[in-house]
């Protein structure tokens, strides 16, 4: 169960009116790449995709008000989740 305590999951809400369009998607993937952790994101109950892939994140089509699940595994998983939650809360600085 070594991995378990390093695996973190949190559900956020997309707040910016334009949703997760290109610019926020690029910001999210750039931020995710700053961490070693494997980070996956999903909209509501949908499929999880790699948070470091702008193409996959774009195709989530996350819109304003959507539940946005983030899951991270690895040494810096906590930090990663915290940073991503902050970015989402800031509406991606849009």
């Amino acid at each position: 169960m070594k991995n378990n305590h390093r695996s973190v999951r949190r559900t956020l809400t997309i707040g910016n009116p334009q949703g997760l369009h290109a610019r926020p998607a690029v910001k999210l993937t750039k931020l995710a790449k700053e961490f070693h952790a494997h980070i996956r994101v999903a909209v509501a109950d949908g499929q999880f995709v790699n948070a470091k892939s702008p193409n996959a994140v774009m195709k989530l089509k996350a819109r304003q008000g959507d539940a946005f699940a983030v899951e991270a595994d690895g040494d810096d998983a906590h930090k990663a989740i915290w940073a991503i939650a902050d970015l989402v809360a800031r509406n991606f600085d849009e």
Partner: protein, 536 residues
């Protein structure tokens, strides 16, 4: 006389006026070369990786040279080239299929997925994938090797077609002009070229490939033609025209800084047309009486800009104008300006279809975002907002009602907003004939569409180009009617179409009673000169 010395004349269409004389330089096309297609195995993988690396470097350089607006378009493309999930399977496929087919197949698949997603924002980004696909294919074809930058100095650049992406990438202070085999005179690129004073001829056709690199050529964009190895007679003709029609550079430079007035001393306001805030860097606000037309289509180039991005763009223009009035036109999509995923597809006649204000009213969720950004920017300076392609007063009233709603919403959210002066473009004969009945604050005549609709002649249609005549009495009559409506109602009337930027047509507009013209930045000097000799 040998063939090498014979002049080759190729006819096209004027994209942006001007005359250039220089060497021909063909820019690489997107066609992949056969050699790259035949490649397999590890070499194929390495070749594709190298091409992606090159595309990545090109994009980084492009982003460095662009402003926020353009940069954000290219940053998404650059991010995709850092996407291992996207690239790795393509590198693997390249081993079996070869670099170009693997890349093309994968990107075509993604483009189709984006387009068919049923999501507007995603569909809009398909154009970026298309651009990216071509960029890497070009790198694979090896014909976009980073040419020494000095290469374009003094050259006439030739391409199959100039996409906005390609146009952005070129330092136009160094090249003299542009010529393309395909393309339309009313495309975005033509707009960009006019604003920067780059002579551009489009639609020259396949004959263009017969002119080799390094050949001396005369680009007569005023007449929409390219002459390779121009004859002495041709050169003399252009020289004569230049002396007769245009003042020298020093005279223009001096003229453009002074306020415009007719020979009798009557002041005429010269405003400037803005299609891209970056073009403003080249001119001083002191040279003009404000901004008579800000096009907002570039904000929607292949995608829909958010409220914040729009707000910043509008504020940038207001700040530049430093207290002088700024007219911003709401999105004028449709017709010859399609936006993927936004404008209707399959209209039999897009010019008579859902375009301009009609389209904005049909898509209130998108229009509201623009109006919110404008209402917020209105607090920043003397902003005026106008709507394109209006035919009936009730359309304008619908626009006013929606604007009022948006401002109420903003107020409820505690956001500072203000209702700016609201005006209309007069572009249809219907609007010109009953202008006084529209309850507007000001009129701005859009001569390009007005001519097209009054004379039933499509702009850029070669076969009827001769009938597209701004001097036609019917056109002059419509313009005079709008001026009369303005006088009767005490509302301002300006003209912001291409007519205003043509010094030869300026007397005609002054005759019609117009005293406000909005011109391309590059035309400020020549138009002021035409004004000053009016009535002499």
């Amino acid at each position: 006389m040998s063939e090498r010395e014979t002049e080759l004349a190729i006819e096209g269409l004027t994209g942006a006026p001007g005359i250039a004389f220089g060497r021909i330089l063909h820019l690489a096309s997107a066609e992949p070369q056969a050699a790259a297609v035949a490649m397999r195995g590890v070499t194929a993988r390495a070749t594709l990786q190298a091409a992606v690396d090159r595309a990545r470097r090109e994009l980084a350089a492009l982003i460095g040279r662009s402003d926020g607006l353009a940069a954000s378009i290219f940053e998404f493309q650059a991010a995709l080239l850092e996407d291992g999930d996207l690239l790795e399977p393509i590198y693997v496929a390249a081993v079996e299929a070869g670099p170009a087919p693997a890349w093309t197949r994968a990107l075509d698949g993604e483009i189709a997925a984006y387009r068919g997603s049923g999501d507007e924002a995603l569909a809009g980004r398909a154009a970026d994938l298309e651009d990216l696909k071509l960029r890497v294919l070009e790198a694979l074809a090896g014909r976009t090797e980073e040419r020494p930058r000095a290469d374009i100095d003094g050259a006439i650049l030739v391409a199959d077609e100039f996409t906005p992406s390609r146009f952005f990438a070129i330092d136009w202070s160094r090249a003299r002009g542009a010529a393309s085999a395909r393309g339309s005179a009313s495309a975005h690129v033509a707009m960009l070229a006019r604003a920067r004073g780059v002579p551009l001829v489009v639609g020259l056709g396949p004959q263009l490939t017969r002119v080799p690199d390094g050949e001396l050529a005369l680009l007569d964009a005023d007449r929409g033609a390219l002459y390779a190895r121009p004859s002495p007679v041709r050169l003399r003709d252009v020289e004569t025209r230049r002396h007769a029609g245009e003042p020298d550079a020093a005279e223009i430079a001096q003229l453009r800084t002074a306020p415009a007035a007719t020979a009798a001393g009557e002041p005429v306001q010269i405003m400037v047309n803005v299609d891209d805030p970056r073009a403003l860097a080249a001119i001083q606000p002191e040279w003009c009486d404000g901004v008579g037309l800000t096009r907002t289509e570039l904000l929607f180039d292949g995608r829909l800009a958010g409220e914040e991005e729009q707000y910043e763009a509008y504020v940038a223009v207001l700040d530049w104008a430093a207290g002088k009035p700024v007219i911003i036109r709401t999105l004028d999509a449709g017709g010859d300006k399609p936006i993927l995923g936004f404008t209707p597809i399959g209209e039999a006649n897009p010019f008579l279809g859902l375009r301009g204000l009609r389209l904005s009213l049909a898509r209130p969720e998108v229009f509201r975002v623009q109006l919110a950004a404008l209402a917020r920017a209105a607090g920043r300076g003397p902003l005026k907002v106008m709507v394109p392609m209006v035919t009936r007063p009730d359309e304008f009233e619908a626009f006013r009602a929606l604007f009022a709603e948006v401002i109420t919403d903003l107020g409820r959210r505690g956001v500072a907003a203000r209702l700016p002066d609201l005006g209309m473009m007069v572009e249809t004969p219907a609007a010109a004939l009953r202008a006084a009945e529209f309850k507007v604050d000001f009129y701005s005549i859009g001569s390009n569409d007005l001519i097209q609709y009054a004379l039933a002649v499509a702009r850029g249609e070669t076969s009827v180009a001769a009938l597209y005549d701004p001097r036609d009495p019917a056109v002059c009559e419509l313009i005079a009617r709008v001026v009369a409506a303005g006088r009767a109602t005490g509302r301002e009337v300006s003209l912001c179409g291409d007519m205003a930027s043509d010094p030869q047509l300026v007397p005609l507009l002054l005759d019609a009673g117009l005293r406000k013209l909005s011109v391309a930045p590059s035309a400020i000097g020549t138009v002021k000169r035409a004004v000053s000799s009016y009535g002499r």
